[in-house]
């Protein structure tokens, strides 16, 4: 950060276009229900606890339950449940520091905002741009998952399906979601609440029935199997793969500026959604591997869970899970597109990318440039159709941010600035944040080389962009 000028340095704090970071909200005038701008305009906070939980759960549940169980069981055997548990622990270790930082800085932008304010503009820019692309990779992954479910539905109703259908359907839906978002929605969030509620209901029935079955209560014998047929290492590489199932809690922080009673609702929504989906994931993988054995499960691929439901509940079970899979993958993809556009806005507000990236049009009131920067690259990645690489790169880029969030907490707490007044404080913070950072960076080591290369390349390009475009912009400690 050699070229970063001191905060507030007059004249120095501009990017290549001459734009300076814009301060919109006055931190001191923050209330539970509004943020207030310098001129006194009120910005309403309109998302409650249920809405926050639904963003977290809705983003995560699509991948962990409906896409990964088959892939994970193929790699790690029944110990795939352990992989999901490892993911949950890491996510929790990060969710706690992220919650503290979010209650101290309840603004749009989430992780990017914390890192840039705590560690400075260079790490901020790397995280901000990486997270934009990380979300793009995640969205593409969810859409391919959707394509798999759509094809499974077509097969179910007896349609003949060609080779490229998964990608074609994923592309079509990606376009549809982007256009819908460009036109603007007013009740999609409450719709999302109902979708998440329905998904939880379906899963609860499925898991209750499946657990009884797996424990032998229902009298069907399940194949006993070695817990770790491939040894302990695949448990970790699988954890790295399936970590994409835990990316949603940070999306709650990206809309922190819209959350009511942020001091209470942000920690509850973030930690609560991680705990909830963590338990569901572990239970699902346990039920799935008990019902079929991991080899058979792996053969079913992305929609393995449908076959589990069919074995347990016949046609009705399979249909319920198919519908659930369609809803879950769409809601994950849509939530990620929205988070992407918020992430782009956050970096453009801070002059790290051109200001026009955050412009909105008055006709539809939507940030069309940012949404295009979300939807466009998603379509390119969907066309590649590489599920595992997409998932891992998304996780890689998120994990870098997660690790830096933990580092940010330590940095801020060691020398607390005057403005730092979080409503929620992590107990034993050096331990939790330290472990969180180590675990986040550590998990990256277990990924496929291809994902690591792509992830690193994104980070290097982001840093290069910062040097080229916004080297004089300083954000550290600027609220």
């Amino acid at each position: 950060m050699g070229t970063v000028s001191e905060p507030g340095g007059a004249g120095g704090n501009v990017n290549r276009e001459g734009e300076t970071p814009e301060q919109v909200v006055v931190p001191a005038a923050e209330t539970d229900e509004t943020s207030v701008t310098e001129e006194g305009t009120e910005l309403e906070r309109s998302i409650g606890l249920v809405g926050g939980l639904s963003i977290g759960v809705g983003t995560m549940i699509g991948a962990g339950i409906f896409v990964f169980p088959g892939l994970a069981a193929g790699r790690a055997g029944p110990a795939a449940a352990g992989s999901f548990a490892i993911g949950a622990v890491i996510a929790l270790l990060v969710a706690l520091p992220a919650s503290e930082l979010a209650t101290a800085m309840p603004r749009s932008g989430g992780g990017y905002y914390f890192v840039s304010r705590a560690l400075g503009a260079l790490p901020g820019a790397v995280v901000g741009i990486s997270i934009w692309l990380g979300l793009v990779f995640a969205t593409a992954f969810y859409l391919v998952g959707f394509g798999n479910y759509a094809v499974a539905v077509l097969l179910e109703i007896g349609a003949s399906v060609g080779d490229g259908t998964v990608v074609a359907l994923a592309l079509a839906f990606g376009v549809l979601l982007t256009v819908l978002n460009l036109l603007g929605t007013e009740n999609a969030a409450s719709l999302q609440n109902y979708v998440v509620g329905l998904l939880l209901a379906i899963l609860l029935v499925f898991l209750t029935y499946g657990s009884l079955d797996a424990l032998g209560v229902l009298g069907r014998s399940s194949a006993p199997e070695t817990f770790m047929p491939f040894g302990p290492v695949p448990v970790f590489t699988t954890a790295a793969l399936v970590f994409t199932s835990y990316l949603g809690f940070a999306q709650v922080a990206t809309v922190a500026g819209d959350i009511k009673h942020p001091g209470r609702n942000l920690p509850l929504a973030m930690v609560g959604s991680v705990l909830l989906v963590g338990v569901l994931y572990v239970a699902t993988v346990f039920v799935a591997t008990s019902a079929f054995g991991s080899a058979a499960l792996s053969g079913f691929g992305e929609t393995a869970i449908v076959e589990v439901a069919r074995a347990l509940g016949g046609g009705v079970g399979a249909t319920a899970i198919l519908v659930g899979g369609l809803l879950a993958t769409v809601s994950s993809a849509n939530a990620s597109i929205l988070a992407t556009s918020r992430a782009v806005f956050a970096v453009s507000k801070d002059a790290l990318v051109p200001r026009f990236a955050g412009r909105m049009n008055l006709r539809y009131g939507t940030p069309h440039v940012a949404l295009a920067m979300a939807g466009g690259p998603v379509l390119v990645l969907v066309a590649l159709g590489e599920v595992e690489v997409l998932a891992e790169v998304a996780s890689f880029l998120h994990l870098v941010m997660y690790g830096l969030i933990c580092v940010s907490l330590i940095a801020i707490r060691r020398d607390e600035p005057e403005w730092y007044d979080p409503d929620f404080r992590v107990p034993a913070y050096p331990l939790i944040a330290g472990l969180g950072a180590l675990a986040s960076f550590g998990l990256i080591a277990f990924m496929q080389p291809a994902s690591q290369v792509v992830g690193l390349a994104v980070m290097v390009v982001s840093a290069g962009w910062y040097r080229y475009y916004a080297a004089d912009v300083s954000l550290k400690g600027v609220l």
Binding site: G40, T41, E44, R342, G358
Partner: protein, 251 residues
């Protein structure tokens, strides 16, 4: 509820009524001149708001449109100031209009909220008295607004035929309170109708009146599906609706 007014003479208003006037500023909505004059005797809070879709951060909208919104609100406020009393200005960007209006109404302690509609000269005012309305507060508001003018008031009690609301008694009390507040009895007409669907009945008669005053009405199953009663009235009629809010201590 049995408030005695020992003096009985002169406009004994307990609290100066305060009317919240929410305006969708960026869509060019304004408040018609006759309505500004009609509201001039009360304190006015102009709330300029802009509803943005979920895709957009409120910060984002304010960065781009704050100045325009503030100017539009200043214009409207200037109109009220020219007509009479003090005007408070609020500007808000929101994803949820109802939440913002309810919050600001609460914060400023508004007696009533205006749901604007176009209007000509205000001559006839309909006061719909349904269940669960604070008659004293309603009378305070109406008496203040009409004290100086010569508009006619129709008090219309809409009974639902159940024992928990006696429309006739409520209308009678409203009439008495208005008289206590100094409104000439000749300007007030009172009538009562038994009604199963007060909202529909109000809408049907709304053509005869220039302004409608009514209570919020409690949440019902129907209001969950179709929106609050006053909003339905405002949507289906051409007249502006003044919604009287219950006093805070009455929940």
């Amino acid at each position: 509820m049995s408030r005695e007014d020992p003096g009985g003479s002169g406009p004994a208003i307990r609290e100066p009524p305060k009317v919240l006037v929410p305006v969708r500023v960026l869509e060019g909505q304004t408040v018609p001149e006759p309505l500004i004059e009609f509201l001039a005797p009360s304190d006015v809070v102009v709330l300029g708001y802009h509803v943005i879709p979920e895709q957009t951060a409120t910060e984002q909208a304010s960065m781009q449109f704050e100045d325009r919104a503030r100017e539009a609100v200043a214009d409207i406020a200037a109109g009220f100031e020219a007509a009479g009393r003090g005007v408070e200005r609020r500007v808000a960007f929101t994803h949820d209009r109802d939440q913002t209006i309810a919050r600001v109404a609460e914060e400023v302690g508004a007696t009533a909220v205006l749901l604007p509609n176009p209007v000509g000269d205000v001559e006839d005012v309909l006061v719909a008295v349904r269940g669960a309305i604070d008659v004293d507060r309603l009378a305070d508001l109406v008496a203040t607004l009409l004290a100086e003018g010569d508009q006619r008031v129709t008090l219309w009690g809409l009974g639902n035929g159940t024992a928990d609301f006696d429309a006739e008694a409520a209308v009678e009390r409203a009439r008495e309170t208005l008289r206590d507040r100094g409104l000439a009895g000749t300007r007030v007409t009172a009538e009562t109708t038994a009604s199963d669907a007060p909202v529909r009945d109000v809408v049907e008669r709304s053509g005869e009146f220039d302004v409608i005053v009514m209570g919020e009405g409690g949440p019902t199953l129907l209001s969950l599906l179709l929106g609050d009663a006053p909003e339905r009235v405002a949507e289906e009629t051409v007249a502006p609706v003044l919604v009287v809010r219950p006093r805070p201590d009455r929940g």
